[in-house]
């Protein structure tokens, strides 16, 4: 099977002269596709009407996908490291596209369980494998600027929803002329939903193949021109040693970083999940919101833009100021901004928008900077697998964030009657959550030498499974 062997790790090693700037667009072509997961709300009402199901029953599709994202990233991380990015991206594309096609079959035949199986289960596996597939490769190609590289790729996940939302609305209008995306109560027909799912499945598969074709791993020992690894070793929180994924989860720093990611995502997801009703509730006069539904939709789009931009800008900034300081900014300044939002957010729309947009940029930045933080602490040896295990924090936060904000809001009154004051308990709780993350970040220390991989004593095997580079013991006890 020559086609399949071309996917193997040893056939993915870059020839001499291969430009490393081909790797970010390869990674982006995957992340821009799987980022569609955050645009499911566009056709949620149409699915509810088509199946005659409840909000919860349809919401379960997304929940299954996110849980599978975390599980497949955690379980499949080591497989991705061993088999290389090309095979991982191909597998991701197959699962992601098959998920859409099985989901389309479920919609066409009126069987919701097939949508759970397709988009939720199969698509979720594609999400998890696709999310982590380019990360360690990018870090190896950009040892001088890992934050910029991973920021570029993970920016695509934020951008994917920005592409998929308007595209889905336009496709549904095309397949069902009676559907009016400007009218919130308008729903598309089942046939239009089938057409949308089939189109997205095929289209995303083709785009992801661009990534499969272009991605390469650098040859062993490769380094960019002018890059001196000694400059990396000179930084106090950056190791040149290698830590395996199995050892990483036995370190205190891994779990502190898990708490940092969990807290940052929990706080951000609370706003993301509630964004549209939140801006309407904050600006309510005599029981009626001064912000129209269409404008609230614009606010959600603006948040997506800052979520995406934050992934690139803040992650790149972390290359200059360090990972620990940048997380102190995400969490520390985030606490201040959450408090300001609770106390002053209702005074002016511009202030409300400014505060929430910066908070969401920190949310995105937190996602994008994590792989580089992992590289600093655990080395490049199995950073993709370690990243996969850390993403369980995302799954946990995906449950905790909405639970916190919805729990508080349910206690304050019914949707459509809430005001800015109703959000204060939830927002101050998020300040507390961020404070926990802030302290956890302060406690992160270099990984003790006992967790480092031993220096290789024999020549590397011919099969190009990643082998740890020469371990440099840094002798710092945790």
């Amino acid at each position: 099977m020559p086609m399949l062997s071309a996917l193997d790790h040893q056939h993915t090693v870059a020839p001499a002269g291969y430009s490393r700037w081909l790797i970010p667009p390869a990674a982006l072509s995957v992340h821009l596709c799987i980022g569609q997961a955050y645009a499911t709300s566009v056709y949620k009402n149409s699915l509810i009407a088509h199946f005659g199901a409840s909000q919860t029953a349809i919401g379960v599709i997304f929940s299954i996908a996110i849980v599978m994202l975390g599980l497949s990233a955690a379980v499949g991380g080591t497989w991705v490291e061993a088999n290389g990015p090309r095979k991982a991206m191909f597998v991701s594309a197959c699962f992601w596209a098959t998920g859409f096609l099985v989901g389309a079959l479920g919609i066409a035949t009126g069987q919701l369980w097939l949508v759970y199986l397709g988009y939720g289960f199969l698509g979720g596996i594609g999400l998890g494998i696709g999310y982590i597939s380019p990360v360690s490769t990018l870090i190896k190609w950009f040892p001088d600027r890992p934050g910029l590289a991973t920021g570029l790729a993970i920016m695509g996940f934020g951008g994917g929803a920005m592409v998929a939302s308007p595209l889905s609305r336009q496709l549904l209008s095309l397949y069902d002329p009676g559907y009016n995306p400007a009218n919130a109560s308008s729903v598309a027909s089942g046939g239009a939903l089938v057409g949308l799912f089939v189109t997205l499945g095929i289209g995303y598969f083709v785009i992801m193949m661009f990534g499969v074709v272009n991605v390469r791993v650098p040859a062993p020992g490769w380094r960019p021109a002018g890059f001196d690894p000694a400059t990396v070793a000179a930084k106090p929180m950056v190791t040149t040693a290698s830590v395996s994924a199995a050892n990483a989860i036995r370190t205190r720093s891994f779990w502190l970083l898990w708490i940092v990611l969990f807290c940052n995502v929990t706080a951000g997801i609370g706003i993301l999940e509630q964004a549209s009703p939140m801006i309407q509730d904050f600006f309510r006069e005599n029981g009626t919101s001064t912000v129209a539904a269409a404008a609230a939709g614009g606010f959600v789009g603006l948040l997506s833009l800052f979520n995406m931009a934050g992934r690139f800008v803040w992650s790149s900034t972390s290359d200059l100021i360090g990972r620990k300081p940048i997380y102190l900014i995400y969490l520390g300044v985030g606490m201040v901004f959450y408090a300001l939002l609770a106390l002053l957010g209702h005074t002016a729309t511009a202030l409300f928008v400014l505060l929430t947009c910066v908070i969401l940029s920190f949310y995105g930045g937190g996602f994008a900077t994590i792989p580089a933080y992992l590289r600093d602490l655990f080395g490049t040896f199995q950073v993709g697998a370690i990243h996969g295990r850390l993403l369980t924090a995302w799954s946990a936060a995906g449950i905790a964030g909405p639970l916190i904000i919805n729990g508080f809001l349910d206690a304050q009154g019914k949707p459509g009657t809430l005001t800015a004051a109703a959000y204060r308990p939830a927002l101050f709780t998020m300040v507390g959550v961020l404070a926990v993350g802030f302290v956890a970040n302060l406690l992160i220390r270099p990984v003790p030498a006992r967790f480092h991989e031993p220096a290789p004593t024999a020549p590397a095997p011919s099969r190009d499974i990643p082998t740890p580079p020469v371990a440099v013991e840094r002798g710092s006890a945790q």
Binding site: A26, G221, A294, G301, L305
Partner: protein, 50 residues
């Protein structure tokens, strides 16, 4: 910025072919992201047009 592998290996990529590959890859990404950003900006403008 000049970037490139330092170690020479056989089967090197032809510069012209790679240039086309680079151009097409970034064009695809730019088209997708550009579409998303423009569509989002159009929607977001409604927030301040009220």
């Amino acid at each position: 910025m000049t970037v490139g592998p330092e170690n020479e290996r056989p089967g090197s990529e032809q510069p012209g072919k790679q240039g086309v590959r680079l151009l097409l890859s970034w064009l695809l990404v730019a088209a997708l992201l550009g579409y998303g950003v423009v569509q989002t900006a159009i929607t977001a403008a409604k927030l301040f047009a009220r």
